[in-house]
């Protein structure tokens, strides 16, 4: 029987952690882009856009990420569309995180005093100009902390994709356990890796929150 050293375990987990990081980053960037669209739709004057965005948010926030993943992975296969695991994982996470980011950012935009809208309105700015030059730059300051905080949720959310066979940190943990029969060691190490990714991010989010609250007190 082949024996595995702790280093073997760590090394293989490290390799798999790359995919967790990559998937998280891709989700964050793409989810952010779609989330921005959701935000604009949610705040649009057009009814169908506003209601559409609301429905989207309710749908994706109101169902488990796991279900969304299954629906995309197996559901598309039913229509003859074979999606590779990484694509299904990326797609599901993107749509899921967009629904949260859009809503987080809407809260930030709504936190900007009405006077800012009115002052820019009477200076004859149009809606998009107001958003771009007046509202979003201010909302951004408030949004940084909760957005980074949500990044932590995204990283942990990627664990779910192991279920459709995407080999990231969690899936690698399962595979290695099956080979080594050392579940405790392996999953302790897996847990440690998630912690090492998430904890600094949480701390950073708290730091940003303090920093921008301090700036806000004037």
């Amino acid at each position: 029987m082949i024996s595995f050293s702790l280093w073997d375990i760590i090394r293989n987990l490290l390799l798999a952690a790359r995919w967790t990081v990559l998937l998280s980053l891709a989700t964050f960037v793409l989810g952010g882009a779609v989330g921005m669209l959701v935000l604009f739709a949610r705040m649009s004057k057009r009814n169908f856009l506003r209601h559409g965005a609301k429905l989207y948010i309710e749908l994706f926030q109101g169902t488990p990420l796991l279900m969304q993943l299954f629906l995309i992975f197996f559901g598309l296969a039913l229509f003859g569309l074979e999606v590779p695991a990484w694509l299904a994982a990326g797609l599901a996470l993107t749509l899921w995180s967009a629904s949260f980011l859009g809503e987080i950012w809407r809260g930030c935009v709504e936190a900007i005093p009405r006077g800012q809208w009115e002052a820019s309105s009477v200076l004859a700015m149009g809606h998009l100009q107001q958003m771009r030059h007046i509202i979003l730059p201010q909302a951004l300051r408030i949004a940084i902390a909760p957005t980074v905080g949500f990044g932590v949720q995204v990283i942990k959310g990627t664990a779910v994709t192991s279920i459709i066979g995407f080999v990231e940190l969690s899936k690698a943990g399962t595979v290695i356990t099956n080979a080594t029969f050392m579940p405790f060691t392996v999953f302790a190490a897996v847990g440690f890796f998630y912690f090492a990714l998430c904890w600094p991010l949480s701390k950073y989010s708290q730091f940003l929150e303090r920093k921008f609250n301090a700036a806000h007190r004037h």
Binding site: P113, Q116, A119, L123, A124, M125, H133, I134
Partner: protein, 242 residues
């Protein structure tokens, strides 16, 4: 043809009718004070003139631009008439200079250099030329309000609406803002101001409008209105404030 024409304007919030058929014409260069108790509709009227509030009936036009609902109609109207608020509403993320420059640049497409010159000129005019690079939070209330005036002027409006612009200021800061408004009046700017500064209204304004329960209750030259109020409501109001 008056510069600002308000014709039979009505507005309700639900069952509460706040404007009950307002008629008012303002000639170019006129300075008008709108006085009245809180809840008399004076701020609402002012906010209707540049489309911050919609109206249910009647019409409003400024220099030929009618109040409509489309973004284009509103923009045309707002290029003619500026507004200054009680709470200043400067953009806190932009320097004083940028606050004044931004709208000419993005709305009118003015080149940056020209906008900068214009901003400097208007900040000089309100006595804040040296604050170009400061941020709003570093200024006193009176200074912030003067920046707001410079910002409104930079759009080169034909009329300015002032919504209780000294009400949020500490007493010792009121005069510096009123002095600026007075100089605007002297330069021939058309001003429509909701105010509680009765002495200022009396000294500077050409006409005073007394609003009561959503209507123009009395209107006339300040001397006449203040020394010889005709209606009991205005008599009572003047008795309360002086």
């Amino acid at each position: 043809m008056p510069l600002i024409a308000i014709e039979d304007v009505k507005k309700s919030y639900g069952d509460n009718e706040v404007l009950k058929g307002i008629r008012l014409s303002v000639e170019a260069g006129e300075v008008i004070a709108i006085i009245g108790k809180s809840g008399s509709g004076k701020s609402t009227l002012l906010r209707c003139i540049n489309g911050l509030e919609t109206i249910d009936q009647g019409s409003i036009s400024v220099a030929g631009a009618y109040l409509g609902t489309s973004e284009l109609e509103l923009k045309t109207l707002r290029l003619k008439v500026g507004m200054i608020f009680q709470q200043f509403n400067l953009f806190p993320h932009l320097s004083v200079g940028r606050n004044v420059m931004i709208s000419p640049m993005i709305v009118k497409g003015m080149p940056e250099q020209q906008a900068r010159e214009l901003a400097k000129q208007n900040l000089e005019r309100v006595g804040l030329g040296q604050k170009f690079d400061s941020f709003p939070e570093q200024l006193s209330g009176g200074q912030q309000q003067r920046v707001a005036i410079a910002r409104a002027l930079s759009m080169q409006p034909q009329a300015l609406l002032c919504d209780e612009i000294t009400s949020a200021l500490d007493p010792e800061l009121v005069n510096e803002v009123l002095a600026v408004v007075r100089s605007l009046a002297d330069d021939g700017m058309t001003l429509l101001m909701v105010t509680h500064e009765m002495r200022f209204a009396r000294e500077v304004c050409d006409r005073v409008v007394f609003m009561h329960q959503g209507k123009v209750h009395e209107i006339g030259a300040p001397e006449e209105l203040f020394t010889n109020p005709k209606t009991p409501e205005l008599q009572q109001f003047i008795g309360m404030t002086s």
